[in-house]
């Protein structure tokens, strides 16, 4: 474990140097670029640093109730982390609603640790010099589904409803540019500038896209979660800010995750 972490730290430095030197390389295909980073990294991904930190947070007693998150039920029973993310979002009987990973984590921090919902939801995404518990926990938990086939359930009526509502949100054109997710992500083999756009309505593309998040973004030196990716796409769509853990966000995530069913989960990954 220690050895891997050392490797990841070294790799992080190598990546920083590369990304600074490689500003001119914009026009090279992104895929080719990432291959170069991968080679520089060897087997390490700097995301391992987030995973390790997340594991620490998961196990550490915290909050007014001085409890860890180890009894948190992510859908496969209290404390079961292995494979849990590959089956999220899902219906949780204890709250009678569909939750995605982030929403469930907030729920566990509130119920197990006694933290207020506002506190548990506050600034989920890290930035320069600011690391968040959410990024680390998501990195840790998602890593525990690596190699496991996506199997988002749709047996409960509320799961079906979340999926169908999520689909509506995906196709909802609005704002000054008339954009929806579907404007950029419902056609095969197109790109914006040089960035390839997955057709998220087709299984193969949806699988590839969904199973690759969270990702260590080389250009940002941060682990970015899937929810962060959605936020950044909403910005480009000229939409307002969508609260993560909102039912709209959960429904959209349900639609995208379910479309990825069958593919082995493969993140945290590394992206440009």
């Amino acid at each position: 474990m220690n050895r891997t972490l050392g490797g990841a730290a070294r790799a992080a430095c190598a990546v920083m140097a590369l990304s600074a030197a490689g500003a001119f390389a914009q026009q090279r295909s992104a895929v080719e670029e990432i291959e170069r980073y991968r080679q520089a990294l060897g087997d390490g991904n700097p995301a391992e640093l987030w995973e390790a930190r997340g594991e620490g947070i998961w196990k550490k007693a915290a909050g007014p109730k001085n409890a860890s998150l180890e009894k948190c039920d992510l859908g496969l029973g209290p404390g079961v982390v292995k494979g849990a993310y590959a089956q999220l979002p899902r219906y949780f009987a204890d709250v009678d609603k569909v939750m995605d990973l982030e929403t469930r984590l907030v729920h566990c921090r509130v119920t197990l640790q006694g933290i207020s919902p506002e506190e548990a939801k506050k600034s989920p995404f890290g930035g320069p010099g600011r690391k968040t518990d959410n990024d680390a926990l998501v990195a840790f938990i998602t890593a525990e589904s690596r190699g496991i086939a996506m199997a988002v359930p749709m047996s409960h009526p509320k799961e079906v409803e979340a999926f169908e509502v999520g689909k509506k949100i995906f196709f909802h054109r609005g704002g000054p540019y008339d954009f929806a997710c579907s404007t950029c992500h419902a056609v095969d083999n197109v790109r914006i500038r040089l960035q390839d756009l997955p057709n998220l309505t087709k299984q193969a593309d949806a699988q590839k896209a969904y199973t690759a998040w969270p990702a260590y973004r080389v250009s940002q030196g941060e682990v970015r979660t899937f929810q962060w990716r959605l936020e950044d796409c909403f910005r480009q769509q000229r939409f307002p800010h969508l609260d993560f853990t909102s039912d709209a966000s959960i429904a959209l995530t349900m639609f995208l995750a379910r479309n990825a069913n069958g593919a082995p989960f493969n993140a945290p990954s590394i992206k440009r």
């Binding site: 000054p176 950029c184 500038r193 800010h241 709209a248």
Partner: protein, 205 residues
């Protein structure tokens, strides 16, 4: 009352026109309610951007399916009628300024300053000048646009119309309605039209 009637008949039209099942309507209503609750104003991007005009609503309802020809025809006619023409009757501005507008992706996002002029980011979706290799492919290549179609007033007018309101010729296009939605000013539209139409523009070299 009047608006209510219009809203009602729009729903009826949707139900009749595209075989929307009642539950599909329910999902739509639920989706809108959840979006209104989940989105928060940020910068210039307010929650009212979730509210759809009739075109946005109709186009969204088809999902990935094509728009039926009769609906498309009606929609295009309506959108054509929204187009305003330059006061001085001249379609062409300065292609150099047009190139800058075509390059800039700013405008409308919550992190953009609404006091600054918007760009149009034509390159995000189209090839234009050959020198710019970083172009998207959501729309067709516009390289040699006027060289291939001609430099005459008809094509100038078509280019104006297309930039002003793309749906006038292609119902439910993915291209923003730059004029109709006030994204670009009249002068800016002239400038991008010049980028497409000026014989000296790199687009036609």
């Amino acid at each position: 009352m009047k608006t209510k009637l219009i809203a009602l008949s729009a729903t009826a039209l949707l139900a009749a026109g595209c075989a929307t099942t009642p539950s599909d309507d329910e999902y739509y209503t639920k989706a809108v309610a959840l979006m209104k609750a989940g989105f928060k104003d940020r910068g210039q991007a307010k929650v009212d951007r979730i509210d759809q005009d009739s075109l946005q609503k109709l186009c969204s309802s088809y999902g990935s399916n094509p728009v039926p020809p009769d609906v498309a025809e009606r929609l295009q006619k309506e959108q054509l009628a929204t187009i305003k023409y330059p006061a001085d009757g001249k379609y062409l501005g300065d292609w150099k300024s047009g190139e800058k507008i075509a390059q800039s992706g700013r405008g409308g996002q919550y992190n953009d300053d609404p006091k600054q002029p918007s760009g149009a980011n034509c390159y995000a979706c189209h090839q234009l000048a050959k020198e710019e290799v970083s172009y998207g492919t959501i729309g067709p290549s516009l390289y040699h646009f006027a060289k291939l179609r001609g430099y005459g007033p008809d094509i100038q007018k078509y280019a104006w119309n297309k930039v002003y309101n793309s749906h006038a010729f292609a119902a439910c296009s993915s291209m923003p309605r730059f004029g109709y939605r006030g994204i670009l000013t009249e002068q800016q539209i002239k400038d991008v039209v010049a980028l497409l139409m000026d014989p000296n523009s790199p687009v036609n070299k």
